[in-house]
Each structure stands twice: as structure tokens, then as C-alpha cells.
């Protein structure tokens, strides 16, 4: 039996092994990208149990779709795309659920979904302010901000992950920046 060095294997090898049913190879993929996925889904949904569930769903979907992964883009890009789409789906689901159980004038919008209230004034710091400001953005703006500022992708990479034109990403970033400036000023 051949001993495989999973830690030093590259992504395409791990994908190939995972497709063949090697669970250790898939375990290594999770180890490599858990933190990346956590940043994205927590950025989109807040640090909640819901984010943890979506994180699990991201990897389960990845496993089920690995045989369709052609390797045209990097594995990290593919995973990021699943993470963003799953988070947006979760936001939509919650929005639908809330719209059923609340009056229309109550459901202002979904800007502050899953935001942990900052009860203790002393605990507020710049990290909380910035995360709260991000959570107040519309989901489509939130996703570009998370990929660009939180994950540090270039605008071109962000466009590739979101599968949208570069111009749309640049426009959303510009509008998001304007909104964030206003929100951060309001929070001060």
C-alpha cells in the first residue's frame, strides 16, 4: 500500500484522490480552506451558528460537486464561489421567512440580519464597528466587500469568483465604500 503525503500534495492531486473516494484527501482540503470559508461566511452572516451550518454545507456541496470540477479555476476560487452563493442563499431564505412572519412595514430591509447587538459600550472597538457596518450593507455589496477587503482578493479575482463583469465589481465597491463611510460616521 502506498503512503500518500496529503499535507504536501497539491490541490489537483487532492481533488483527484477525493473523487476516487479518498476521504483523507478531502479532509486535507477542509483543513486547508476551513479558515478561508469561515471568514467569508462569517463576514456574510455574522459569527453565528447559521454561519457554521453554512460552512458545513459549503464543504458538503464541494464534495458532491468535485467530480464536476474541471480545474479551469483554482480550487480556492471554486470554494469561495460556493461559500458566497451559499451565504447569499441563506440570506434569501431568511428574508423570505421573515417576510412571511412579519408585516411589510416591519421588514424594512435585510441589512442588519444576524448582527449581534453591541450591548456593552466598553466592548465596542473598531473591529465591531467595521463588522457591523459591513453587515448593514445589502448582500450583493457585502459579498464584494468581503472578498476584496476581508479576503484581500484583487478586483479581477473578485469578479472571477462572483462570475460578474469587472465593471460591476468596481461600481459595487465604489458604492459600498460610500455607504460604509456614511454608516461608520453614523456609528461614531
Amino acid at each position: 500500500m502506498v503512503n500518500i503525503d496529503y499535507i504536501n500534495s497539491d490541490d489537483p492531486d487532492l481533488v483527484r484522490l477525493s473523487v476516487k473516494g479518498d476521504h483523507k484527501a478531502f479532509g486535507e482540503i477542509i483543513r486547508r480552506y476551513e479558515y478561508m470559508v469561515a471568514r467569508t461566511v462569517k463576514g456574510m452572516l455574522g459569527d453565528t451558528q447559521q454561519a457554521e451550518d453554512v460552512g458545513q454545507e459549503v464543504f458538503i456541496r464541494l464534495y458532491r460537486n468535485l467530480k464536476n470540477f474541471r480545474g479551469d479555476s483554482k480550487l480556492s476560487t471554486y470554494i469561495q464561489r460556493i461559500a458566497v452563493n451559499q451565504s447569499l442563499n441563506e440570506i434569501r431564505k431568511e428574508k423570505r421567512f421573515l417576510s412571511i412572519f412579519s408585516r411589510s412595514d416591519d421588514s424594512d430591509d435585510d441589512r442588519e440580519m444576524n448582527v449581534q447587538p453591541l450591548d456593552n459600550e466598553k466592548e465596542r472597538d473598531i473591529k465591531d464597528y467595521v463588522n457591523m457596518a459591513i453587515s448593514r450593507l445589502e448582500p450583493s455589496f457585502r459579498s464584494v466587500v468581503i472578498l476584496r477587503s476581508v479576503q484581500g482578493y484583487s478586483t479581477k479575482e473578485t469578479a472571477e469568483i462572483l462570475d460578474m463583469p469587472l465593471g460591476t465589481v468596481l461600481s459595487r465597491l465604489s458604492r459600498a465604500k460610500k455607504q460604509l463611510k456614511e454608516i461608520l460616521t453614523d456609528l461614531d
Binding site: G21, H23, F26, G27, I30, R31, E34, Y35, A38, R39, K42, G43, D47, A51, E52, G55, Q56, F59, I60, Y63, D125, I126, K127, Y129, V130, N131, V145, R148, S149, V150, G152, S154, L173, S174, A176, K177, L180, K181, L184
Partner: protein, 117 residues
Amino acid sequence: MKEEKMKDLFLQSLTDDLNPAQRDALDTKLFPSDGFNPGFRERVMKVVQGGSLLREKSKKHLERSLNSLFVRVSLAGAAAIIVLVLSLLLSQGSLSYDTLLGIDKNVDGMLVSLATD
């Protein structure tokens, strides 16, 4: 780095490329990587392994069911053919093509008389 500067750095990161030191400051102060709760990988693997095990089991179960169904249908079919042949043999006394096809020798004449009436 002061909070106001961090805020500016965050806003700058939306439209400009940051240098490594700025990126590091942003990652440390604003977006530290916490990951998920402990045991996250094990929980996902449990679902993945359970799912593939379940698929394998259901595939085998389906194969067994189809095999068993095929044997039952083929046995029942063979028994029905034997019973049919025997009943024809007993009722007609022979096993000619006409008997097997259910054609009576008098059919032609009957049809002609029906048509002329």
C-alpha cells in the same frame, strides 16, 4: 495603529491594493481568522462519509432488489407458459402452430358466412 487610521485603511482596501504591512494590520486588527468551532472538520467528514456509505448501501440494495425481481418475474413467466401449453395440449389434443396461435380450422368458413349474411 489608531482606530481612525484602521477605519481609513479598511475603506482604502476597497478600492486600492494594500502593501503587505497594511494587509497584515487589517487582518490582525479587523479580520482575524477565527475559523469554525472545534471539531468542524470531523463533523463535515462524518456527513461526507455517512453520505457515501449510504449511497453505496442503497446502490447495492437496488441491485439486489432488481436481481430478485428479475428471478421472480422470469420464474412466474416460465410457469405461465408451461401452464398455457399444457392447457392447450389437453383442450386441443395437439400442439400445432394454429393451436398455439389460437386459430380454429373453422374460422375462415365462419368469417365468409358472416360476411355474406
